[in-house]
Symmetry: C3
């Protein structure tokens, strides 16, 4: 028996030439295979629509969370779907985000401009869970903020506050939660003043090699991830995290270390 | 019948061991194939001169323009000659510049130290014209200021004011137009205090791989550029630009989007 | 007859799970083949010890010098041993340093977190000696602070003061000499709060490709270095440096240009 079909995404087309895509899977937009598949389908649909030149990703939740990251119960399962996002889409893409660890950070990094709420945080904090940051995610962060700063953040599982993230170039702007969408729309309008052709080709020039490297690494990455995830030490570490999450204030198995902020001297 | 031979470059040798190369092709030093060839010949000549250890590039124009970039009427034609510049020359190179979009920015980025006038601007603004930033130019900017900041600038066709360019590391210094050459000469004297051998070999260590990658990409780049430039959308977009330029205050087809500054939230 | 065995390293194991490794070869911890071999052996020993999860490198000298760099009398001889350090060790590594030119800078750059004394300096100043910065050292600095800033520093043989080094990201913290070790231990304790597995795998994800590239380049690098070092110009330049050092205030052939700070407009 198949699961009942469901869709956690709301798509709203704007006359200005872009679409708003809201992710609303309570409680914390955990990214499991199903959600990644929905995202992939949405991207396909919007790319095929000649009226849509850009996309704004937002959380449809009331709480200030973009996504808590990959569901810890099926870490790395969504690999293939994620890679769909690494291919630079012709659309101008722009996520607006509250809390944004791990998988949510990765989705954001694939976009063109990032705006975060004043109380959000962002980063790849896998190391705090005893698992490794996927190689190409680490590489992607290195491309955005530099290899040196990325090395420091990732080894220490740092989740950055908005101003620190902006100073490092991991996000581009900060806005109050109530003004988040308006700020994103203003940026989107600016981006779409430019003709699409040159921007799209330039984006490919900038990112296609890395996207291809990522796609080619899918096989080795999945194998390595499986080996890591099935090792006794990691199984035990993740088990503890799951137990803690299920018994604590964040029921439902929010993944990727959502609310856990590693202390670190950066 | 061949064109009458002409030369738009003035070369002045300085007893300190360097040469000043001034580009003086009124009105805005548009870079067409002929000018790129002259630049190539000048580089060859100066490299072969054992008395010349460094080069300062400057505009020989009265107005505060280094070069308006590639002539829009023959965009990408000068490819091969440009690549001559990507091979790290043994000379210490130093451009001093006013307005410096597109091709002028690229020439500057191939050098070792960049000084700009207080009223100049610099960037690769191809996207505003509906065309793409050549892949290796984009890569070169990424090497200088980081891939993340370059991505943002290029997608939005940003021309940077001097202080922003300095903050990002795209230029190294700012000087008033009347003090520009003196500032450049001071830097050149400092650079030449060091023996040449170690600096030259270090420059090769730093840049030779990228230069080779660039040279190998010449074929694919020319093909791709031709396809792009002959596409109906781009032909139309560039036609509009040319028409606007020829009817406006910038006669003579200055290229590369000289005076056009894209508005952008960076 | 073989040299009498000697060891210039002191290793102290800390109950917190790390080892302190002090380098004490008077007068300035010049790094010759023998010292590199000792360092390699120490790394092997500590990596094999399950009680040791991290390493702090420090100078055991009274004076504020981490190491003056490779001994100029056998520059590049220690290549193979150095490469041992380029492979990202599973240990958390952390050098604390005073004066730190050339080889000392390279050793530091291979580590995970760098703390320097208030009166130290750091950089790769080979160009001031008329020799080139080894290609992979240049690449390593580029990875840490960005290719653009590294290009500028290396061509001009700049040794950075602590605050400038911190601003560029070449070091992470500054401490007074008397508080150096305490500061390092605090950082180490923070790093070791995280489980080792994820951090180690992440470190590999971040650095293994570069380490492999470095290892593969060992052959060509040694050949190139030999050609450079045996060229008449370099032999003469280094001869002058040695003569100056042996006649001046720094007897004993401290290498890598220890106390020489190139003047440069950066």
């Amino acid at each position: 028996m198949a699961d009942a079909p469901r869709n956690d995404l709301r798509i709203t087309r704007n006359a200005g030439g872009w679409a708003l895509l809201e992710i609303a899977r309570a409680p914390v937009n955990s990214m499991d295979l199903q959600l990644w598949r929905q995202l992939t389908a949405a991207l396909d649909e919007l790319e095929a629509d000649p009226q849509v030149r850009g996309m704004i990703f937002a959380s449809g939740l009331r709480r200030d969370v973009f996504t808590a990251g990959n569901d810890i119960k099926e870490l790395f399962a969504p690999l293939t779907s994620q890679q769909r996002y690494t291919q630079p889409p012709p659309l101008a893409t722009l996520p607006v985000a509250g809390a944004c660890p791990a998988g949510g950070c990765c989705l954001s990094m694939c976009c063109d401009y990032r705006i975060m709420t004043e109380s959000g945080h962002i980063g790849l904090n896998e190391v705090a869970l005893g698992i490794s940051v996927p190689k190409m995610w680490a590489g992607l962060m290195g491309r955005i903020i530099g290899t040196g700063p990325a090395d420091k953040l990732l080894q220490n599982a740092v989740l950055l506050q908005p101003q620190d993230a902006k100073d490092l170039g991991l996000i581009d702007d900060i806005a109050p939660k109530e003004g988040l969408l308006a700020a994103a729309e203003e940026v989107m309008r600016e981006m779409l003043k430019m003709p699409d052709g040159g921007r799209q080709a330039t984006k490919l020039n900038l990112r296609a090699d890395f996207a291809q490297e990522w796609a080619e690494f899918a096989g080795p990455e999945a194998e390595g991830a499986w080996q890591m995830l099935s090792s006794p030490a990691v199984v035990e570490a993740l088990g503890e995290v799951l137990q803690r999450l299920s018994g604590g204030r964040k029921p439902g198995g929010s993944g990727g270390g959502g609310g856990q902020q590693a202390q670190s001297r950066l």
